[in-house]
Amino acid sequence: MKRVGVFLCWCGSNIAGTVDVGRVAEKVRLLPGVVYVEENKYTCSEPGQASIMKAIKEHDLERVVVASCSPRLHEPTFRRTLEAAGMNPYHLEMANIREHCSWVHTDREEATAKAFDIVRMAVAKALRNEALQPGRISIEKKALVLGGGIAGIQAALDIADAGHQVILVEREPTIGGRMAQLDKTFPTLDCSSCILTPKMVDCAKHPNITLYTYSELEKVEGYIGNFNVTIRKKARGVDEALCTGCGLCQTKCPVKVDSEFDVGVGKRKAIYTPFPQAVPNKPVIDKENCRYHKTGKCRICERVCEAKAIRFDQEDTIIEEKVGAIVVATGFDLFDLETYGEYGYGLYPDVISSLQFERLINASGPTEGKIRRPSDQEVPRSVAFVLCVGSRDDQKGVSYCSRACCMYSVKHATQYREKVKDGRAFVFYMDIRTPGKAYEEFYRRSSVDYGVEYIRGRPSKIYQKGKKLVVRAEDTLLGRPVEVEVDMVVLAPAMVPKHDAAKMAQTLGVSYDGYGFLNEAHPKLRPVETNTAGIYLAGACQGPKDIPDTVAQAGAAAAKVAALFSQDELTTEPMVARVDEALCSGCLWCKPVCPYKAIEAKTITERVAGRTVTREVASVNVGLCQGCGACTVACRDGAMNLAGFTNDQVLAEVDDLLADLRPACGV
């Protein structure tokens, strides 16, 4: 039987005030296996730790139990103590007789009895502790950034500037993302593309950045420092190497369709670059609409292309890369406005979304920045801006606030008033939220200097009356219903997770919330990490954000990656699952329950009754395994066990506890 030393802490009066530590010591002394018991005023103190090390040597202890506070507090401390004494740190067990005992009980008798039980269970477990060795894994110092919006661009640039290789993957034909669609940015009203496009170009030029646009992540395997990712580069229909981006093909292409980039308020061709400043400035062929792909005739673009870069028969290419870290910056979608039937979006052409409005006022947009309403191209003399369409609505939308809508709507109203001097701008709001540098001032200016009219109330109905739209709401400040006739209505949709966010999360093996936003590891202290080591978050994929916050988070994520890459090796937590191959039947039911895809089949060869047999068993990737133990329960024959929390240990805790409280076996 292993020689156990037990160290009982008074924690001043924190424990000793309620628990009769002396009595506990007497009883513990009589436990099988316990060869040394000691009381300390403060075990975590220098002298306290010193006496542990002393006792380990003098009484050649093989296991140590420290009965004091929560292991969540001092387990690392005492593990270091054991290590310092030349003992395997995992030979420590802690008995939490403070948080779980002295602090929550008042009766000295009861508390003392319970404290003894807690120590007894710890001893039972300690007797079955094993020496554990942390593993070491190498790090591939190359990062994958998913999403080429401002978040992805920023993260990619920062990591690249830190001197590490970056692969930037963007689903669309160009990087730039939402920000590229915007006209100006609040509160400074500086031009969005003026600050974004340079960064886009940097990305393309940066020696450390490999850019894959019009590409999607297919598969992720491996673990921190060693991810194997598979990327599908969709067929562009254009040889990027040859294409000069002259744009002739686009001018000549006979097919016109709604432009995704212009959110339906503008048109594009079947071969196109989403917008003039696109990076890379190489067009793609949209197979669904391309006349040649549909009818087998046309090929005009091919004819006009002097670089001979058109490749109708081009196929998707699969790219495999090994990376050490992943930054997820996949952004957001907009709430489906048709959910609000009473607002008539999709029914009345002059009810549009904020993003459509961005395109309308954008100098490079379909109307060259002239505000004209879709129905008759007339300049709207009055515009109503409706906030919180979807946001903060448990009934029809999402409960959260989308954080950016107030400010950009303020911006829109201001911009409208600038452009249409005699126009009237109404903003229907629940609250105007301006938590940001110079936000409140910007808002005030809009009403004081630009005469934007704010009406506090969520519209209940928008309906057409002749050429006008009537917005009906309750003015909750006046406490009476108001109806405002306007020429155009702009709805501010909630920011919602990308439609395929959940799928993405599963591919990556990270958790996501009820809405589909990816979960950070800790809302306050680990805001850019995920629970899967080596995967970080940036931007709106984690929750609604405006541009400054997004850029800040992207920088933070990049810093984390740089910190990770600053080491050459990682040590892994040794409290992980392990397989007893002799027992393992190879059923692999442990595999589906592993949240980290850490279990795979492995073929082993063994001699049975003189003949060689090969069979499959489960094998745990210690780099991936986080030690949750789900697999151990899925394993019926107990081949799968969890170091530090073995079946043996848990059963011993149960048995020894109850053997004393509820003697069995007639003893």
């Binding site: 969540r72 948080e99 958790s511 151990t632 899925a634 969890l642 506890l657 509820r662 069995a664 076996c665």
Partner: protein, 174 residues
Amino acid sequence: MQPRKSGGFENMAESASRPEEARPAETRPAEEPGAGWEPVIVGFLCNWCSYAGADSAGTARMVHPPNVRVIRVPCSGRVNPRFILRAFQRGADGVLVSGCHPGDCHYSTGNYYARRRLVLLKRYLEYLGIDPRRFRTHWVSASEGQKFADIVREMTAEIKALGPGPKAKLGELV
């Protein structure tokens, strides 16, 4: 139908050698309800939420009954149903399993698997004749010290009222 609390009919003869009175456990005063009898509740708490929740109950000095003995596990998904029956078999009067709220699992999905298993187990134990009030399962986050304290209080009171656990009916292991 069987006259004595004992194993299968095979060892009836044997139990002759140890008449009831001579058998401890069953007649120990500590096992009789009412006077001085205190329930023993084995609590399996996940390290990241519920164990921390119990800790915060401590840090906030939320006084609650001393009847729960905590076994720390990394995740509610680590709790093997066999552990729970084992506890009852060895004399626990109640068993509590608590983990992170669904969706908040430190290991992202561990508690979802646990939930399936435990909901099934809960019904099954009742089916086997173990009072469902003796086996409770909860979600307690690291911040829910109060909730933890309340659960312990409720559960202790409830089981006090119920009296000694299944072992009283099951009898000795040998």
